[in-house]
């Protein structure tokens, strides 16, 4: 288990699991969100292969009102 930050809250997670597995575990539907890690965009095509490292800053964003 490693410690990462999810939307600025620290979380433990299994460093063996790919993002594709972590997102549903965290309660996200990948079709309704977009992801950045450490300030870099992560396209959906990488979800299945990408694994997190300790201390990673994960941003999971969803649509909101905009002006």
């Amino acid at each position: 288990m490693i410690l990462i930050s999810l939307n600025n809250e620290s979380r433990e997670c299994d460093s063996e699991l790919a993002l594709a597995a972590l997102l549903p575990a965290w309660g996200f539907d990948w079709k309704k969100i977009a992801v950045a890690i450490n300030g870099d965009f992560v396209p959906r095509s990488q979800y299945s292969s990408l694994r997190l490292n300790a201390g990673d800053q994960v941003d999971v964003l969803a649509p909101v009102q905009g002006g």
Binding site: A34, D40, V60, A62, V64, Q65, G66
Partner: protein
């Protein structure tokens, strides 16, 4: 005869009738938002991205409702303070909203929330290389506008006044200079519009459209105000096409003076 012939305009190859772009924030409720957007006649709606906590499904409800309106969406990068932030957020927007359109905002100062001219130019250049169709929010500075054009922006969005102030067009002279010097691109006044008269003034100056949010969302009756702005952009656009009378320094009568009675030659 009572309705002017179709008068469309084109943004990045896409054609529209309405000259009003409208934001989706700050409405009293989602249903009022939908009614107001419909009443405004707007075809382009700005949206954004924020962190999602799995628990709250609120955001999603909003998004489902907005999608059902079948409008064109223009994601923004509001709140970004650096080129890097703006570029990352832009890429996330493109994937999630499935559009390469982007309202580019890079905040330069947290007091007047004005765009950072230098960072906006740099971000626009990167994003255009990445294939984005950039709608840059910028100040009413001719040279900044020219540089944004030169890096490949095909539409420009100078401000009227700081966002949320409703002060209207602070500097009509600058806006007019930009219009005269950049006749080849569509120009949109973004931010600062507080009343329909401001919108009419922008279109009378030759601007192609306006983008606003607070003036409608925070009006006493947002739906009626949306209709007011719908009519305002129609009025302003027709005025620009019809050509206004010249302003005169001195009075001149409308009713003919010839044949005035009760006057006796001696």
């Amino acid at each position: 005869m009572m309705t002017p012939q179709p008068d469309n305009w084109t943004l990045y190859g896409q054609t529209f009738q309405s000259r009003l772009l409208i934001g989706s924030a700050l409405y009293p409720s989602p249903s009022v938002m939908s009614e107001a957007i419909t009443a405004s006649g707007s075809e382009i709606i700005t949206v954004s991205l924020r962190r999602q906590s799995p628990s709250e499904a609120g955001g999603e409800g909003f998004w489902q409702q907005l999608k059902s309106l079948n409008k064109t969406f223009l994601p923004n990068t509001a709140g970004c303070h650096s080129v890097k932030e703006a570029v990352t957020l832009a890429q996330m927007s493109r994937e999630l909203f499935e559009t390469d359109w982007l309202k580019l905002e890079v905040v330069g100062d947290d007091y007047n929330l004005q765009p950072d001219p230098v960072a906006t130019i740099a971000a626009a250049e990167q994003l255009i290389k990445l294939g984005f169709k950039v709608f840059p929010y910028c100040t009413d500075d001719l040279v900044i506008c020219q540089r944004l054009r030169d890096v490949g922006c095909e539409v420009l969005m100078p401000w009227g006044s700081p966002i949320g102030t409703g002060r209207g067009l602070m500097n009509p002279y600058n806006l007019q200079t930009i219009r005269e010097r950049i006749p080849e691109l569509p120009l949109i006044v973004d931010a600062g519009i507080g009343k329909p008269s401001h919108a009419v003034q922008a279109l009378e100056l030759g601007y192609d459209g306006i983008l606003l949010n607070t003036a409608i969302a925070q009006a006493g009756d947002p739906v009626m105000m949306a209709a007011a702005f719908r009519d305002a952009v129609a009025a302003g656009r027709q005025a620009a096409r019809a050509g206004a009378m010249p302003e005169r320094q001195t009075a001149s009568p409308s009713t003919p003076t010839l044949g005035m009675p009760f006057w006796h030659q001696q």
